[in-house]
């Protein structure tokens, strides 16, 4: 999460209106999930990857590493669909083991490929958004979309204090380690427990201080902050619409081709 956070603040796409990026990401995501079409999925994946790496200047190594996370899950779960144990060999492949075969059908192979492509391109849509748009920008879009204020405010505070809490936890772990808190299993269990309870106490105390600090600035129960949105550009919106049409075209084309 912290890696993604670092990347998105220095993304080349940061200067683009967050609403546009969100619309693009949701649109491509929907195309993947609704169409379940391998050609559409490939196009979406290609488009997102090009934008993220080329326009967003995300280091490709990090992008690949991030994509490996969903890829591992998808491969494991599709393997379960593809691989069967059976006495009868199926049409795609069959490895005999005694009386049995490790085998799979062509249909399930096609299904697997489609699933893998759809899942990975859907992940690439989400990565496109999270690698180019800081959380605070996304929250502003949510607010504009009339998402409940309470929810947005909670997310705003949570996002900020995840980092404060993580920092505190890291400092405390270092302090424990420098006093041999993790020398063996027993001490590390005890240290971990102490860390947890101390973190809780600190979080409670800090929240009291933050409330004081906010009250000092005339907080009256409503978090008012200025939006710092970048105006949307006509050309970019046209690009998004055009890409939507292209994806739709690919979808229709592949369906027609399949039928004929």
């Amino acid at each position: 999460m912290i890696v993604i956070d670092k990347i998105c603040y220095s993304s080349g796409l940061r200067g683009i209106n967050a609403g546009e990026k969100m619309a693009f990401s949701v649109m491509t995501l929907l195309f993947c999930v609704v169409s379940r079409n391998a050609a559409v999925a490939l196009a979406v994946f290609f488009g997102n990857t090009v934008l993220t790496l080329w326009k967003g200047r995300t280091p490709w190594k990090q992008y690949a590493r991030l994509l490996l996370i969903p890829a591992a899950f998808v491969l494991l779960s599709t393997a379960a669909i593809l691989v069967n144990f059976s006495r009868v060999p199926l049409d795609a492949f069959a490895v005999p083991i005694g009386e049995y075969y490790i085998t799979g059908s062509r249909r399930s192979l096609a299904l697997c490929i489609r699933l893998i492509l759809t899942a990975l391109s859907a992940a690439s849509s989400l990565y496109f958004l999270s690698l180019s748009t800081p959380v605070t920008d996304i929250l502003q879009v949510l607010q504009r979309l009339r998402c409940p204020t309470l929810l947005v405010e909670l997310m705003l505070l949570t996002y900020r204090f995840i980092f404060v809490l993580a920092e505190t936890a890291a400092d405390m772990t270092t302090a424990q380690q420098s006093r041999l808190g993790n020398r063996n299993f027993k001490t590390s269990v005890r240290s971990f427990g102490a860390l947890g309870s101390m973190l809780f106490i600190r979080a409670v105390k800090r929240s009291a201080r933050i409330y004081d600090a906010m009250e000092s600035r005339c907080y009256d129960g409503k978090l008012r902050v200025l939006r710092e949105s970048i105006p949307p550009k006509g050309a970019e919106i046209a690009g998004i619409v055009l890409w939507g049409l292209v994806l739709f075209g690919i979808f229709m084309g592949s369906v027609l081709l399949w039928k004929s």
Partner: protein, 287 residues
């Protein structure tokens, strides 16, 4: 000088009277002056600061702001907090938004400024405190000194009459301490009343108009830096040392190196100037 705030026999306890953090504190703050609050940890400085803007309500005693006793009705409290700004010691306690721009805008919007004016104000403060180079970064990626700058901007955007800084230079490197001190000097130049707690005797001696020496929830001594830092007994009680400039100046006067009757130099530079003005060769050889 005009009185801005007065405390009369304040008592405050965090634990229902078990221990008292303020125990009969009385003092007067005058408009436009620079106050250094000094004293050991736990002597009641921070508690008093939070009384100043009504976050803490004293158990006993009265606090006057602008001649009127502070009212604890929520509307009056908002009015008080609009005029008394507090910069907290740990910026992580103060910065609630990951976005610097949003963070600074919070106070301005709470005052009811229309969006356009608030935007202008936020940008003015970002400019003034030189925050622009890191204003696009998230709060958790800022250094301690940068967070402090943002924390001060948070308060400045509200244009308070009185700014309270709780150990503004604690845990800052020398460069950021200089930046923060520069900002404080700018503020006092504009006539804002500044209350600052600090443990740095040399800085307090050179900067403050008046020193407030706290001890166990009470005011032990109030006066000009020259007066307070000459009161050895009070310093001993509060556990404070003496500023280097004063110490060296007094030794030099006693030894006869410097003529008697010079005004006390507020920092080492001023003292050095005295020494440079001495005709060379007149130094006694015994030194």
């Amino acid at each position: 000088m005009e009185e801005l705030m007065r405390a009369e026999d304040l008592f405050f306890s965090y634990d229902e009277g078990e221990t008292w953090s303020l125990e009969g504190l009385s003092l007067t703050i005058q408009r436009g002056k620079k106050y250094a609050f000094m004293g050991a940890n736990g002597s009641g400085k921070s508690t008093f600061f939070l009384c100043c803007n009504g976050i803490h309500r004293p158990n006993r005693g009265t606090l006057y702001f602008d001649g009127k006793p502070v009212s604890y009705k929520s509307r009056d409290l908002l009015a008080l907090r609009a005029r008394v700004g507090v910069v907290f010691q740990d910026p992580d306690d103060q910065l609630f938004s990951a976005s610097v721009y949003q963070e600074i805008s919070f106070g301005a919007l709470n005052l009811g400024m229309p969006e356009k004016a608030a935007r202008r104000e936020v940008e003015r403060v970002i400019d003034k405190l030189e925050i622009a180079p890191f204003s696009h970064k998230p709060a958790h990626a800022l250094s301690g000194g940068q967070k402090k700058q943002v924390a001060i901007a948070d308060v400045l955007v509200m244009h308070p009459d009185m700014i309270i800084l709780d150990e503004p230079c604690a845990a800052l490197d020398p460069r950021h301490s200089r930046i923060v001190r520069g900002i404080i000097d700018q503020l006092t130049g504009e006539g804002v009343t500044v209350l600052m707690s600090t443990h740095d005797v040399d800085y307090a001696f050179s900067w403050a108009d008046e020193i407030m020496l706290f001890h166990r929830g009470r005011l032990l001594r109030q006066g000009s830096p020259e007066e307070v830092f000459s009161d050895i007994q009070a310093l001993e009680t509060a556990g404070l040392g003496r500023p280097a400039a004063l110490e060296v100046f007094q030794s030099l006067t006693q030894k006869g190196v410097l003529p008697k009757g010079l005004s006390v130099p507020r920092d080492l530079k001023a003292l050095q100037r005295y020494l440079e003005d001495l005709p060379s060769g007149e130094c006694p050889s015994s030194l």
